[in-house]
């Protein structure tokens, strides 16, 4: 078997693993019933490349890998998006994951990054999902939560560098703007899970939140609209002067500058800010 023949074998087998989950294998998951059938190419690939064993035909042997492929990926995504699952319910959630995995094969080595493109997939309009806006926002919050777990910590600016250097947010900090009650859904879904400090749901929906890491514990916190504008501008452009200008119209008429000072004290103490990497 030449290397180019091995490459073709690997390409065909991997394509077979991506075939839809059907029959008894599907019934072992939370996927909804489906009229999908196994493409004929699945059995053809199995027969072409595999031998039978005493007990199993080539397609039955390949099926052991096929179901394992789907179970592993569905399990990993289910672990990572508990709030989205609680919003959609198990069946619609599993159907979303199936559509996501169908749309693009996984390309990441770390299973924790498998869902990184789920917010973009939801935003692309490729699927119709109940509570679409809330679902998109929850997906972003949950990706931010995963990011806060293991993202890098960049060197923070010194007090002098705050006004003289180009700034950015630390890689573990994610800003999320909300139009739905996503933060309450997120809090409710996570209440029973010991994953860092969780605050009780508030009566009014948050419009802006930050997800970040403090002393290795992950947190989600509401942001004042002006604080969000300031941080978003820093993230995008890096200039403190520009960011202050962006926030100004959203600040209360009185004591606005005291508010901004208190935010910077907090962000410095909690290491939200970083020096901007040279482009």
């Amino acid at each position: 078997m030449r290397v180019d023949e091995l490459e073709e074998l690997q390409r065909q087998v991997l394509a077979a693993l991506r075939a839809p989950l059907v029959g008894p294998s599907r019934e072992r998951t939370e996927l909804p019933l489906s009229a999908r059938v196994m493409p004929e190419s699945f059995a053809a690939t199995a027969e072409r490349y595999l031998t039978p064993s005493a007990a199993l035909t080539p397609p039955a042997r390949l099926e052991l890998y096929h179901r394992q492929y789907w179970f592993r990926l569905l399990d990993a995504l289910t672990d990572d998006f508990p709030a989205l699952r609680s919003l959609l319910g198990p069946r619609a959630f599993a159907a979303l994951l199936e559509a996501y995995l169908d749309s693009a094969p996984p390309r990441v080595a770390n299973l924790r990054q498998l869902g990184a493109d789920l917010p973009a997939f939801l935003a692309s309009g490729a699927v119709t999902t109940p509570h679409l806006v809330c679902a998109q926002e929850l997906a972003r919050l949950e990706v931010a939560w995963l990011t806060a777990f293991e993202a890098a910590e960049a060197p923070p600016p010194t007090a002098a560098q705050l006004s003289t250097s180009a700034l950015a947010l630390q890689p573990h900090v994610t800003l999320v703007a909300l139009r739905s009650h996503a933060d309450s859904v997120w809090h409710r879904a996570n209440e029973s899970r010991p994953r860092g400090r969780v605050r009780p749901p508030a009566a009014t929906p948050a419009r802006f939140v930050a997800v970040f890491r403090l002393a290795l514990a992950r947190q989600m916190e509401r942001l004042h609209p002006a604080a969000h504008a300031l941080l978003a501008s820093l993230q995008e452009q890096g200039s403190l002067a520009v960011a202050l200008e962006a926030a100004a119209p959203l600040l209360p008429a009185r004591r606005g500058s005291a508010l901004v000072e208190s935010w910077f004290r907090k962000w410095t103490a909690e290491r939200w800010l970083a020096l901007r990497e040279p482009a």
Binding site: M1, V3, D4, Q10, L50, R61, R107, N110
Partner: protein, 291 residues
């Protein structure tokens, strides 16, 4: 005696896989647990910051930690992923790993990964490809890179040799060590109908750097390598025979799903430690030969 150049002449005994739900018990434990070392899934710690790296430092301050990769894919026809190798090397440097292991398998093509350890056709050309890839990994990592036999559920029509001949040919051509997973040999022996003792006897003893033990799930006509149960009796028997052949060898108990309590895990590891201690005593200089 399996202290050799592939495991930095290690005298490590029994270790277990490091799993997040056990960390509290591990850190709350008195100074010294009856465990020699921990194995980590390398990819889980090839990250930029946060809790994983801090946990790693905490564990490392008390125990040796050996990284075990699951996505180097030395059997990949398209070759290795340079970014993966760079990140693996950074981890090896960070924790001063004495050796690194990964599997003799493939799992990705065209940038698409299966997150599985897929078996290879056993031919001379494929062995040559694997050996060339392994040599490249060794050149990058600069510490011994040890390859593990995977369990499998399928065999390829293209194979022209047995799995044990293939594993041996790859190891010799690459001049690398072996992580012999005794449970995987047993699982594959049932699935493919060969004698696990023929396999184990054929493995070049001087290349075995480490052993793996794990539990599996038995179905009517096949076994799935689930790592979610205690080690099966048949595998304990093969482990004891393997130790008798190889001498004391660093051994790692894998348990990845349906995790037991930390105490139960230690008890299961203790069974391996007992068998290992018997072989170590027998192999010690001055051990009684005659009765």
């Amino acid at each position: 005696m399996s202290a050799n150049r592939f495991n930095a002449h290690s005298a490590l005994g029994v270790g277990v896989g490091l799993r997040a739900p056990h960390l509290d018990d591990l850190f709350a434990a008195p100074e010294k647990l009856p465990l020699d070392w921990f194995e980590i899934i390398a990819e889980n710690f090839m990250v930029d910051g946060g809790r994983p790296l801090q946990t790693l430092e905490q564990v490392r301050s008390r125990y040796p930690v050996i990284p075990h990769g699951v996505s180097t894919y030395v059997g990949s026809a398209q070759g290795l992923d340079p970014a993966h190798l760079r990140r693996l090397k950074a981890l090896v440097r960070r924790i001063e790993a004495p050796w690194v292991s990964d599997h003799l398998c493939w799992g990705a093509v065209d940038g698409h990964t299966s997150h599985d350890l897929l078996p290879l056709p056993y031919t001379s050309e494929v062995a040559r490809l694997c050996a060339a890839n392994i040599r490249q990994v060794q050149d990058v990592l600069e510490v011994p890179f040890v390859i593990e036999n995977v369990s499998s559920y399928a065999e390829f029509r293209a194979s022209t040799m047995t799995e044990w001949q293939f594993v041996t040919e790859v190891a010799e051509q690459a001049d690398c060590g072996l992580l012999l997973d005794v449970n995987n040999v047993y699982v594959s022996s049932v699935n493919h109908g060969f004698d696990p003792r023929t396999y184990l006897a054929a493995i070049p003893a001087e290349r075995v750097a480490q052993l793996h033990l794990a539990g599996h799930a038995r179905f009517e006509s096949f076994i799935i390598d689930t790592h979610d149960a205690p080690v099966a009796d048949a595998v304990w028997q093969l482990y004891a025979e393997t130790l008798a052949r190889l001498g004391p060898t660093p051994t790692l108990l894998e348990w990845d799903a349906q995790l037991p309590t930390f105490a139960e895990l230690l008890a299961e590891a203790g069974k391996a430690a007992k068998l290992l201690a018997e072989v170590t005593a027998a192999a010690a200089p001055g051990a009684a030969r005659a009765g």
